[in-house]
Symmetry: none
Subunit: 261 residues, 2 copies
Amino acid sequence: MIINTCLERAPAIILIEPREAGNIGSTARAMMNFGMTDLRLVRPKTHWLETFTRQMASGANEILNGARVYETTEEAISDLNIIYATASKKRDMIKPLLTPRSAAQEMKSLTQQGARIGLLFGTEPSGLENEDVMRASALISIPTSEDFDSLNLSQAVLLIAYEFFQTHLPDSFVEVSLSGKRSSFATQMEVEGFLKHLEEELDIANFWRVSEKKPDMLQNVRNIFNRIQLTQQETQTLRGILKALVYHRWGIFSQKNKTSS
Amino acid sequence: MIINTCLERAPAIILIEPREAGNIGSTARAMMNFGMTDLRLVRPKTHWLETFTRQMASGANEILNGARVYETTEEAISDLNIIYATASKKRDMIKPLLTPRSAAQEMKSLTQQGARIGLLFGTEPSGLENEDVMRASALISIPTSEDFDSLNLSQAVLLIAYEFFQTHLPDSFVEVSLSGKRSSFATQMEVEGFLKHLEEELDIANFWRVSEKKPDMLQNVRNIFNRIQLTQQETQTLRGILKALVYHRWGIFSQKNKTSS
């Protein structure tokens, strides 16, 4: 499902001391999947732009090419307005702790009011230093299973970028839509035609066995087909199947008749 | 944020012809992050359980150890009730097309009714064959940016597992936080300007008393102001307050000086 959503002033992703080239590549890819473009690196390992980085970025090269490198977090965020820090561990600091979903709502509202937002990500497994967390107005923590809470850096970026992107979707995409062309639905008359035909044939075949049971059984049969939301083509196909099955049966009957005569 | 949520009968993840060992490892990790345990592989590449698989799984070994391998999709899903297929491309099939979020709601409801659910994932970049898609009652498509819609296999698993996990969170974790109206936010440089100014003045005032205590005390002070999400106006106001206080102090000094002279 490809959405042409213009994410104006999407948050900047700021990686503090990223160590693995592959992770930087995957982060770029995750950003691009969800319309984020502003990647900033603070004190990355010396050779961060390796072949492996581009390989893991899988085509998100424009993000890597535009990435800016800084010596300090302070410089990296100086032009931004509001900072969020991602945290897997509890901190001894008084800050709002948000889920990615509630943070995404807040970030959307803040960007609409003109704020430029930055998201700080630390390295695995230690995470952000308190000195960096301190710069944030709130923490974002991704709820995970108790048994296994270690998220990969690019996965954390992916989930937060995904949630931010979700807030920009038109309502129609949040609802259920149908894939494939459904050129024309069958009318109820067409469906009813098939169901009547089916009932007749089942009568002939003595399908219901006990006539008192027929109403309930018929209702169940009707429910099955009514739930499908049939197209005209499919209804025709079903009638074709029914005719074919019946034809076969009559064939046997006529053979029998021939034999008995 | 670690949540002790029991995901009873969480959906099975079924990878069709997975090729990269690293992807299988990352998938196991993503599953474990969000309480899923049932991994099934259909015709995986011969040596799928490599050192690299375990490396990428980053500790999610129990998922890999319990993974079951099948020759056909049919066998892999035979014990399951409802199948969803993930699809990045449009299909010429008439099936409900769900977002991960709406699918997660539906899956939760179905599992509560006793259904065992399976999620089919194809290989990059081709995705699932129609023959496999056909087995699904609905498609799940992850909304992505128009410019870049290729999601890594384990990232797709991660997002869908994440959404399913979200439906099991207590309400308190889903809460949306509110943000007020703010005319224009201060940049981090402006906030930093105020904080540096404050620190200088506190140095002069011998506010920290014991120099060893300064780092912790300063961190607390900074946290207070960073939490506020200051506007430019508020930052100016704070600097004004600071200047006023300092001016007053110097005023006393000069008065003292006058008195003493």
